[in-house]
């Protein structure tokens, strides 16, 4: 069993790397989407909405295949790169939802307040709304990261050498029996161990922020929403 | 009942009931009686050793400022709140006893039965929004009392007619005015044929012009001899309908007696300032 665990652990850095980079990418891709969706021009809003709806409907595994095999003809991508791109794209609408919700949460009274002390629209946004929105967005974005960790498990399908791929090697190199059980049980445990501290930290942050902002009605709703926005358990 | 003299006898939780002493009211048989009621929420004490009873046919108005414990007292009477300690009896039989040497918690069935006997009408009506007015009244008839659909419907329509809303039976709560909703709520409780009706500020959430229709229904019930206990801000109700007025403050009964007497010449300074504030609103 210890042998199995050690073998599986080899895949952990790759899993983590994949999750982090994809998460960052999705966070960045979400920015233009949010911009579109909140635009004052109707056609842009419709476009943003369509993109969101479309991408949310794409199974992550399929996106992975499309990116890897599709782009292969033009650019040679390592499986890891393809995975980062695919997952970044697929989760972007959810990140965008988070951004949108945090902005709405703040805007309510704050824009007026910023106006009333003479800040123009841009200043109001940058100095008043944005800092608060960022704080609201952190817990659900951490949740999204957990989703990304789970999502990364599918990357083995195109050969990324992550935890699942290590499990594949282990099982193909053995003749079944207890080795299979140990391997499959092992990967579950590894994921539990990876996610648990992140969850814990997230809850701590949530609790602290709720205390800081005690009395504001809005935060609660945002955090409930974070439950809806999540990377899928697998794909 | 002599005004002012009825100071609750304060007893420590661990002492056994004092036979005969505080029972100047023993001659009167209480339909509903709570003794030595203490209710604590964490550190805060909402009720501090209250003795309260209602006799058949009585109409009691409980008044007090917010936070005085009056609503807690009411909710203990139908056990929506469980006393931290004390004893609750219905028609002479102990329903439940908490704290003290021999606590007795009512079973789920007994709780359900008790609430059938002691009905409650809420400040915010609390009709079930997914059911029609008729459905609201029928629910208890069918599920708690076990009537068939046909019987339940008949009885429910009777109750709705009683409160003057028979023709709105098929309406959903959001289609009804506040006054109408509250009347349906009364019908819903009445359908259970309770011996005692509890009202928790029944008109507080209503626009002024809707208050009268609800008070009219309550008056009607009074004329039929319904025993009732109402937490209220409406001095008019206390003066015109109630047979006894109870003033609560800081979890204790401060004074009680005929409403006319108390309103006219309150004995306690608490009552005095309370009345002044109620008259101003």
């Amino acid at each position: 069993m210890a042998y199995v665990m050690r073998q599986i652990l080899v895949g952990v850095p790759v899993t983590l790397l994949l999750a982090v980079l994809a998460w960052i990418l999705c966070g960045l891709l979400a920015l233009p989407i949010t911009g579109l969706v909140r635009s004052r021009l109707l056609p842009l809003r419709v476009l943003g909405d369509l993109i969101t709806m479309f991408v949310r409907g794409v199974p992550e595994l399929v996106a992975l295949f499309v990116v890897f095999f599709g782009l292969q003809q033009y650019v040679s991508l390592s499986p890891l790169d393809a995975a980062i791109i695919a997952f970044g794209i697929v989760e972007a609408p959810f990140a965008s939802e988070i951004y949108r919700a945090s902005l709405t949460t703040v805007q309510r009274g704050q824009r007026d307040a910023a106006d009333s002390i003479g800040l123009n629209r841009l200043q109001g946004f940058v100095h008043v709304v944005l800092p608060q929105a960022v704080r609201f967005a952190i817990p659900p974005m951490i949740n999204l990261f957990i989703g990304m960790l789970n999502l990364s498990s599918v990357a083995a399908a195109i050969g990324v050498n992550d935890v699942i791929q290590r499990a594949n090697f282990l099982m193909s190199a053995s003749t079944g029996g207890l080795r299979f059980l140990a391997t499959t049980g092992g990967i579950c445990i590894i994921y539990l161990v990876m996610v648990a501290p992140v969850s814990y930290v997230s809850r701590l942050i949530e609790r602290r922020m709720r205390r800081d902002l005690f009395g504001a009605r809005a935060p609660r709703r945002l955090w409930q929403r974070s439950i809806v926005i999540r990377g899928s358990g697998a794909a | 009942m002599p005004r002012g003299a009825q100071q609750p006898v304060r007893q420590r939780e661990s002492e056994p009931p004092i036979e005969g002493l505080d029972r100047s009211a023993a001659a009167v048989s209480y339909v509903l009686h709570i003794e030595r009621a203490v209710k604590r929420f964490g550190q805060a004490t909402a009720l501090d050793g209250v003795d309260f009873g209602v006799a058949g046919g009585e109409r009691v108005a409980i008044v007090g400022r917010s936070g005085s414990g009056k609503t807690t007292l009411l909710r203990c009477l139908n056990l929506l709140e469980t006393p931290t300690s004390g004893t609750l009896s219905y028609e002479g039989r102990v329903v439940g006893s908490w704290g003290g040497p021999s606590p007795r918690t009512p079973s789920r069935r007994e709780l359900s039965q008790h609430r059938i006997h002691v009905g409650m009408v809420f400040q915010r009506f609390e009709l079930f929004p997914h059911l029609t007015a008729l459905g609201n009244v029928m629910l208890g008839l069918r599920r708690s009392l076990g009537y068939s659909k046909h019987e339940a419907r008949e009885r429910a329509m009777e109750q709705l007619a009683l409160v003057g809303l028979a023709e709105r039976a098929r309406a959903h709560p959001h289609e009804l005015s506040g006054g109408q909703q509250q009347r349906v709520a009364i019908a819903r409780s009445l359908a259970m044929e309770p011996k005692v009706m509890l009202f928790d500020e029944p008109t507080s959430a209503l626009d002024p012009e809707l208050v009268d229709e609800v008070l009219a229904v309550i008056l009607k019930l009074a004329e039929r001899g319904m025993t009732m206990v109402a937490v209220t801000h409406e001095l008019a109700f206390a003066r015109d309908v109630a047979t006894r007025m109870v003033v609560v403050d800081s979890g204790e009964i401060v004074e009680q007696g005929p409403p006319g007497d108390i309103i006219h010449s309150p004995a306690s300074p608490v009552t005095h300032s309370l009345l002044r504030r109620l008259r101003l609103t």
């Binding site: 479309f54 399929v62 499309v66 095999f69 498990s153 794909a235 | 009392l145 409780s189």
Partner: protein
């Protein structure tokens, strides 16, 4: 391209089967978990919360691997078909997410409704069934459609444990026709044609129910 479509089409049946059974299971399991989370029996509440914690942390694929590869080694009697492994795996995994939403929906029904139900003598079970759950259904409706979308997406992962649904069929087809991009794009089309309308439907439901039932509890 039409040849790709006809080649993949039979897989749609399997995908639909998977989706249908899994959804039903997810629904039942989540409602049970949601009620369990609010149980007054401490052990039950804790167990349900632990379940949700665990199954939100472990990816679906890991669960599928455990069921498909791991279980049979414990006992041959436990060797389930790939299909059943997928159904159970998806159900067990998705339920953890949906349960939280349903629990929130239940909690959004005001406390006073419980009081009102108690005041006409209803037992806790009757109160759940007749008063609370019907009201919780309103905020739970739109997320349920979202759950359906998630389940459809999850079925594609089942291809990795040999379930012959759409995605696996696409993989096999590529071995024959050597047109990966085209095939995968068609595959994409199959999914999107279902999930996107569902997404819009979910939004309609959310807005529609909010409008119709006015002051009903709204879960954000």
């Amino acid at each position: 391209m039409s040849s790709i479509i006809t080649a993949l089409a039979p897989g749609a049946t399997v995908t639909l089967e998977l989706t249908g059974i899994s959804c039903a299971l997810v629904f039942v399991l989540s409602v049970a978990l949601a009620i369990g989370t609010n149980s007054r029996v401490r052990a039950v509440g804790i167990a349900c919360r632990r379940y949700v914690d665990v199954f939100r942390s472990v990816p679906l694929l890991a669960i599928l691997y455990l069921l498909f590869f791991g279980l049979p080694t414990v006992s041959p009697a436990l060797a389930l078909s790939a299909l059943w492994c997928s159904v159970i795996g998806i159900a067990v995994s998705e339920a953890a997410f949906t349960a939280e939403i349903y629990a929130g929906a239940i909690r959004s029904v005001s406390r006073a409704q419980w009081d009102a139900a108690a005041s006409i003598g209803l037992s806790r079970r009757q109160a759940y069934w007749r008063v609370v759950l019907p009201q919780a259904a309103v905020p739970a409706a739109a997320p349920t459609i979202n759950m359906l979308i998630w389940v459809i997406k999850d079925t594609s992962v089942a291809s990795l444990i040999t379930v012959n649904e759409l995605t696996l069929r696409a993989d096999s087809l590529i071995n024959i026709n050597a047109r990966p991009l085209a095939t995968y794009l068609v595959l994409l089309g199959f999914y999107v044609v279902v999930t996107v309308p569902l997404g819009y439907a979910g939004r309609l439901v959310e807005r529609g129910l909010m409008a119709r039932l006015g002051g009903g509890a709204v879960l954000q």
